[in-house]
Amino acid sequence: MSDLLDRRAILLNQEAANKEDAVRQCGAALVEIGAAEPGYVSTMLDREKSISTYVGEGVAIPHGTLDGKALVKRDALAVLRFPGGVDWDGEQVTVCVAIAAAGDGHIELLSALAEILLDEDEALALRSATDADTVIRLLGKIEEGTA
């Protein structure tokens, strides 16, 4: 998990004024750990305007457009938790799993994440996580699934 999910990109007590603010924070986390160029953030916002990345279970998966792939330096995740919730086009989002992916790898990644969220207990555990170790344990399966 260490390659894909950098501990510095797990931010579990965030506040966001709205969806755009939340996506910007997600993008900033990916930029901060050196996974993406700053320009990637605006492609994440473009993606969100084009179609919501809400997937269910209080989780959204902000990521860039196809054009944004060139701005990805390495595949990575960022996990941002908003305990107060963020209105996501009428849905309530508590956790964002932001994705930087240059190639096709994100499909396995999304598939593994979806498998986790389909388990209601694990989805709840992710929404309630207050420490990075819990997030790493829960999402550890993603890297096993994509290895």
Binding site: T53, G56, I61, T65, L66, L110, A114, E115
Partner: protein, 91 residues
Amino acid sequence: MPTRTVAVGSASGLHARPAKLFVEAAAAAPVKVTIRVGDRKPVPAKSMLGVLALGAKQGTEVILEADGDGAEEALNGLAALLARDLDASDA
């Protein structure tokens, strides 16, 4: 049961945007539609998480199934949607 087998046409596979468009179309269908890959367990086509969990890439063959009034029409529409490159209109 009416069935369609179709190869995913979207360049980036059946993930966020193409998956969302497909799921919305499936939710609007008058019948319950399931989707699966090979012999794996079918999932409701209107479930975003279920569809994402398939991990279907461009060219992956998926199997749609539905039963009841309007099933054939619904499957035709959804199969045509899957075969298209839904990323083509991407920003």
